[in-house]
C-alpha cells in the first residue's frame, strides 16, 4: 500500500508539472480585477445543483455557491485532498468507530440576500440531499445512503451520524453539486425555488441569466476566503457547437473553456496563437463502457462477452485514438492512478483484454467463440450520437471485433432515444454506456457495475458481486478496501465479463495564457468556483488590444 501511495504521489506531482505556470506565482503577483469570459457547451436546465448532473449548470452556477468541504482548489489533481470550504480547520476525522463526523462552521458568512449562514442551513441542505421529502428530487440521494442523521446542536456545529463507517462519505460530501442553501429559503420559498432562483454564499453574486445566451456574475465583496475572488466578475457564454467555442478562444471572444477539447483542436489553437495559448491536461474521471445486454442471446453467455473484451487492443488503441479523440489511459474499473485502483502491471497480468500480446488474446477469443458456437457472430453496437468520444470509440471497437471475424454494425441514436433504449426499451444487443463522475470516489463510482445500481443496463443478477460490494461499502480499512475492490473488479471484468472498459477519457484544456491561477482537475465538474483565477491585464492587452 505504501509503495502504491508513493507512486500515486509521484503521479500527482507529474500531473501538477503539466500545469505549466498555473498557480505557481507568489500570492502578491495575483492581480485583482478584470472579467473572465468562459464558454460552455451546454444550456442550463435549472440552477439547482441537487437535481442536475450537467457541467452546463456547474460551470456558470457553481461560483455563486459554497460547499461544506471541497476538493483542494490548490491541488485539484489529487483525488484524495479535501479541504474545508464553509467549515473551519481541517476536514474532521471520524469518531465513534468511524460513524460520526463533526464539522465546525464559519462565522460571518452571508448569503447574497444578506441572510447569515448557520449550521441550520448545512443541516437543511444535507437533509434535502439525503432525505428529500416525497415528490422532491435529489439526484445524489444514493451517495448519502450511509447517513443516518444530520444534527445542528449549535449555530456553529454540524454532526453527521453514519449508519456504518464509510470510505465514500467524505468524497460524497465534497461533490460540487452539494450547493449549500439557506434553510429559510427552503422553508419559506419551497424546495423547488432554487431551480429558478439563485441565493448562495459563493465567491460571486448572481447578476443575470439570459436563457441560451449567457450568465453573468460579479464579485462577492463579503466572500469569506480572504483576498478572493481576484476577478471583478465573469460571463459564462453558452455555445453548444465545439467549433464556435474553439474559434471564440482563437478570435478573442472568450478566454477559456473548462470541459475540454480534442487533441486536434488543441494543436490548431497552438498553431494559430503559439504561446498565447496555455494547455493543461489530465486523466479524466469518465470512461466509456461496453455493455452487453445479458437478456439478448448470445450475450447471455460469458464466453461470448469475454471474447469481445479479449479482442480489444487497448494499448494500441490508446496510442492512436489519443491523437484524434478525448480518450487515452488504459485502466480498470477504478480511476487510473487512484490508490485503490489496479495498476497497469496488475491489469496486464490478471485481467482479460489487458495483455500486450494481442495476437494470443485474439486467438483465445476465437477459441471461446468457437466453444460457444458463435464463430461468425453478427450483431449491432448501439451507440450515442455524440462524436467525442462515442462515435470515434464505437468505430474503433467495430474494427477490433472485425479482427476476430465478427460482423458488427453501428446503430447511433440521439441522446433521448439512446437512453430510452438502454433504460426502457432494452432492445439492443451491445451498447456503449458511460460512467462519468465528479469527485474521484472509486468505491462509489464502481456502483455503476452493480446489477442493482439502477444505472447498469446489462440486465443481469449476481449475488456474489452484490455481496462483495456490500462488504466494500461497509469497511473503513484501506487494505481491506483494496482487496475487496480487486475482487469486485475481477468478478466484473473476468468471471462475468458483465461489462468491460474501453479507454479512460483524457481532458485537454487550451486557454488564453493571460488567464492565471486555474488548475485542472480530473473532472470537468471540479474546481469551478473561479475564485483562484486572475487575469494578467498587461498580457491580455497585448493579446487582445484595447
Amino acid at each position: 500500500m505504501k509503495s502504491r501511495l508513493t507512486r500515486f504521489a509521484a503521479s500527482v506531482a507529474l500531473g501538477s508539472a503539466l500545469v505549466v505556470g498555473a498557480g505557481s506565482m507568489p500570492a502578491s503577483a495575483q492581480e485583482q480585477g478584470g472579467e473572465l469570459r468562459l464558454v460552455v457547451g451546454s444550456d442550463i436546465p435549472s440552477y439547482d445543483g441537487h437535481i442536475e448532473s450537467t457541467f452546463g449548470m456547474i460551470h456558470p452556477i457553481r461560483p455563486f455557491y459554497s460547499l461544506l468541504i471541497r476538493v483542494n482548489p490548490d491541488n485539484p489533481s489529487s483525488p484524495t485532498d479535501f479541504v474545508c470550504d464553509l467549515c473551519v480547520g481541517e476536514v474532521p476525522k471520524p469518531t465513534n468507530d468511524g460513524k460520526t463526523y463533526t464539522f465546525k462552521i464559519r462565522k460571518g458568512v452571508t448569503f447574497q440576500d444578506g441572510q447569515e449562514l448557520t449550521s441550520a442551513d448545512i443541516k437543511a441542505t444535507f437533509d434535502k440531499l439525503a432525505f428529500p421529502p416525497d415528490g422532491i428530487a435529489s439526484n445524489r440521494k444514493a451517495y448519502f445512503a450511509m447517513i443516518d442523521s444530520v444534527e445542528a446542536p449549535d449555530p456553529e456545529t454540524v454532526v453527521f451520524n453514519l449508519k456504518f463507517p464509510s470510505g465514500t462519505f467524505i468524497p460524497s460530501i465534497a461533490m460540487p453539486f452539494n450547493f449549500i442553501y439557506s434553510k429559510n429559503d427552503l422553508d419559506e420559498r419551497g424546495y423547488t425555488w432554487h431551480q429558478t432562483n439563485v441565493n448562495g454564499t459563493g465567491p460571486f453574486h448572481f447578476v443575470e441569466h439570459v436563457q441560451g445566451s449567457h450568465v453573468t456574475g460579479k464579485k462577492n465583496p463579503n466572500y469569506y476566503h480572504e483576498g478572493k475572488p481576484y476577478l471583478d466578475g465573469y460571463t459564462s457564454l453558452i455555445a453548444p457547437k465545439m467549433s464556435v467555442r474553439l474559434q471564440a478562444i482563437r478570435g478573442g471572444q472568450a478566454d477559456i473553456e473548462f470541459r475540454g477539447f480534442p487533441p486536434k483542436a488543441r494543436d490548431d489553437l497552438k498553431e494559430a496563437l503559439g504561446d498565447q495559448i496555455e494547455v493543461q491536461e489530465s486523466d479524466w474521471n469518465c470512461v466509456l463502457i461496453v455493455t452487453p445486454n445479458h437478456e439478448a442471446k448470445p450475450f447471455d453467455d460469458p464466453r461470448v462477452r469475454q471474447a469481445l473484451s479479449l479482442s480489444i487492443d487497448r494499448h494500441q488503441g490508446s496510442e492512436y485514438l489519443s491523437k484524434i479523440a478525448i480518450v487515452k489511459t488504459v485502466g480498470g474499473i477504478g480511476f487510473p492512478g487512484h490508490p485503490i485502483s489496479s495498476s497497469p502491471e496488475y491489469l496486464e497480468k490478471n485481467i482479460i483484454g489487458y495483455s500486450k500480446d494481442i495476437e494470443a488474446s485474439r486467438e483465445k477469443a476465437k477459441a471461446l467463440l468457437k466453444e460457444a458456437g458463435h464463430e461468425n457472430l453478427k450483431f449491432t453496437l448501439h451507440n450515442r450520437g455524440v462524436d467525442q468520444p462515442y462515435k470515434v470509440v464505437g468505430t474503433w471497437l467495430i474494427d477490433q471485433w472485425r479482427r476476430i471475424g465478427l460482423d458488427v454494425e453501428q446503430w447511433v441514436q440521439p441522446s433521448t432515444p439512446f437512453y430510452a433504449t438502454l433504460r426502457t426499451q432494452k432492445n439492443f444487443e451491445v451498447s456503449l454506456d458511460f460512467n462519468c463522475q465528479a469527485v474521484v470516489n472509486p468505491i462509489a463510482d464502481i456502483s455503476k457495475f452493480l446489477p442493482s445500481s439502477g444505472a447498469n443496463y446489462s440486465y443481469f443478477e449476481d449475488a456474489e458481486l452484490e455481496s462483495i460490494y456490500a462488504e466494500l461499502l461497509a469497511t473503513g480499512d484501506e487494505g481491506k478496501q483494496r482487496e475487496l475492490f480487486a475482487q469486485f473488479e475481477k468478478r466484473v471484468l473476468n468471471d462475468l465479463a458483465s461489462q468491460f472498459i474501453t479507454l479512460w477519457w483524457y481532458k485537454i484544456n487550451p486557454y488564453r495564457s493571460y488567464v492565471k491561477g486555474w488548475k485542472i482537475a480530473p473532472s470537468h465538474y471540479l474546481n469551478q468556483s473561479l475564485e483562484n483565477i486572475w487575469i494578467d491585464s498587461a498580457e491580455r492587452k497585448k493579446q487582445l488590444g484595447g
Binding site: V39, D43, I44, P45, S46, I51, E52, S53, T54, G135, A137, S138, N139, K141, A142, Q195, T196, V210, Q211, G212, S213, H214, T235, L237, I238, A239, P240, K241, S243, V244, Q247, A248, R250, G251, G252, Q253, A254, A272, S415, T416, P417, F418, Y419, A420, T421, R423, T424, Q425, D433, F434, N435, C436, S447, K448, S453, G454, A455, Q543, L544, G545
Partner: protein
C-alpha cells in the same frame, strides 16, 4: 375584398389546428422523454422513483387524450405553458430570442432584396450578354452554397484575415446585445449571418426576378410601350417591374417566414441565440411544450406571410379580385 380577407383569416384556423394535432402526435412517437434525459443524461444513476415523479409533475404519465386535451386548451387560450427543460414560461423563452431572429430575418431579407432586384432586372434586360452570364453564375453559386457553409467560410476568413492584417485574430461576438443597447456590438455580430443567409436567398430571388422580368418584357403591352417610343428605363420601371414582382414577392415572403424559424444550422455556426437554436435544443431535449410552441409559431408565421402575400397580390395587380 373584405369578404375575401375574412374568409382567408377563417381558413387559417383549420391549418393551425391540423398542424397542432400533427406535431403533438409526432413528438410522442419518439422514444424517451425529458425526464430520462434530465436525470440520467450524463450516464449517472437515475432513480426510477425520481424519473416517475418528474414525469408525473410534467403530466407525461397522464393518458394521451388527457395530454392532448390540456394542450388544446392551452392552444385556444394562448397559454403556451412552461418549458419542460428549464421550467421557465415558454412565452418568455421565445420572447428573449424573438428580437434576434426578427432582426436577422429582416436584415437577411434586406440583403436578399438589395442584391436580387437590380441583378435580376439587369440580367433580364441584358439577356444573353456577359452581364447576364455573370449574374447567373453568381446566383447559381448562391443556390449551390448552403448558407451555414458560407457562414463557416466567413468566420474562418475573418479569423485568418484579421490575424494577417491586424496581427490578432478576430471573430464576431458570440452573444447578443440589442441594437438599442449596443448597436456596434449588435451589428458586428449580426451582419455576417445576414450576409450569409441573404446571399443564399438573393440567389433564388435573382433567378425569379430575371425569369419574371423576361416573361413580362415579352408581353404585348411592353411591345406597345416600346412602339410608342418610351425609353427602356421607363418601360422597365413603370410598366414591367410591378407586374414582374408577383412571384418575387411570394418567394421573398416565404423566405422571410423560413428565416424566422428555419435558420437552424446558421444560428449554430454563428452561435445566435435565436428561435432556430432554441428549436434544436427543444427537440434534442424532448421538451414537448417548447417544441410544440415553436412549431406552432413557425406555422403561424408561414400562414400569416402567405396571407399577406395574397393581399399584396391584389394590391399589385388590380385585376386580381377574390370573391
Amino acid at each position: 375584398m373584405y369578404t375575401y380577407i375574412i374568409k382567408r383569416l377563417l381558413m387559417l384556423l383549420p391549418t393551425l389546428i391540423g398542424a397542432a394535432i400533427l406535431i403533438f402526435l409526432l413528438l410522442r412517437l419518439v422514444p424517451g422523454d425529458v425526464c430520462l434525459l434530465k436525470f440520467g443524461g450524463e450516464g449517472s444513476y437515475a432513480d426510477p422513483q425520481q424519473i416517475l415523479q418528474c414525469q408525473q409533475r410534467l403530466g407525461l404519465t397522464d393518458p394521451i387524450w388527457q395530454q392532448f386535451f390540456d394542450y388544446m386548451v392551452g392552444f385556444f387560450t394562448f397559454d403556451l405553458g412552461v418549458s419542460m427543460w428549464t421550467s421557465q414560461p415558454v412565452a418568455y423563452e421565445i420572447a428573449i430570442r424573438f428580437e434576434l431572429s426578427l432582426q436577422v430575418a429582416l436584415m437577411a431579407t434586406f440583403v436578399s432584396v438589395v442584391i436580387a432586384l437590380p441583378l435580376g432586372i439587369i440580367s433580364a434586360a441584358k439577356q444573353n450578354s456577359w452581364i447576364d452570364y455573370l449574374v447567373r453564375t453568381f446566383s447559381i453559386a448562391g443556390i449551390a452554397m448552403p448558407s451555414f457553409w458560407l457562414g463557416i467560410l466567413i468566420i474562418l476568413g475573418l479569423l485568418i484575415g484579421s490575424q494577417a492584417w491586424f496581427g490578432r485574430p478576430w471573430m464576431p461576438p458570440i452573444h447578443f446585445q440589442s441594437f438599442f443597447v449596443d448597436p456596434v456590438h449588435n451589428m458586428s455580430q449580426l451582419i455576417w449571418p445576414a450576409l450569409a443567409t441573404g446571399y443564399r436567398y438573393s440567389a433564388v430571388a435573382t433567378r425569379m426576378t430575371r425569369s419574371a422580368m423576361l416573361e413580362v418584357l415579352r408581353e404585348d403591352y411592353v411591345r406597345t410601350a416600346r412602339a410608342k417610343g418610351l425609353i427602356e428605363k421607363v418601360i422597365i420601371n413603370k410598366h414591367a417591374l410591378k407586374n414582374a414582382m408577383l412571384p418575387v414577392i411570394t418567394i421573398v415572403g416565404i423566405e422571410f417566414a423560413f428565416l424566422m424559424g428555419g435558420l437552424v444550422v446558421t444560428e449554430q455556426v454563428f452561435n445566435l441565440n435565436g428561435l432556430g437554436k432554441l428549436f434544436v435544443s427543444a427537440v434534442t431535449q424532448s421538451d414537448y411544450t417548447m417544441t410544440q410552441a415553436l412549431v406552432m409559431l413557425v406555422v403561424a408565421i408561414f400562414v400569416l406571410m402567405n396571407f399577406l402575400v395574397d393581399i399584396m397580390y391584389a394590391w399589385l395587380d388590380p385585376r386580381i379580385r377574390y370573391s
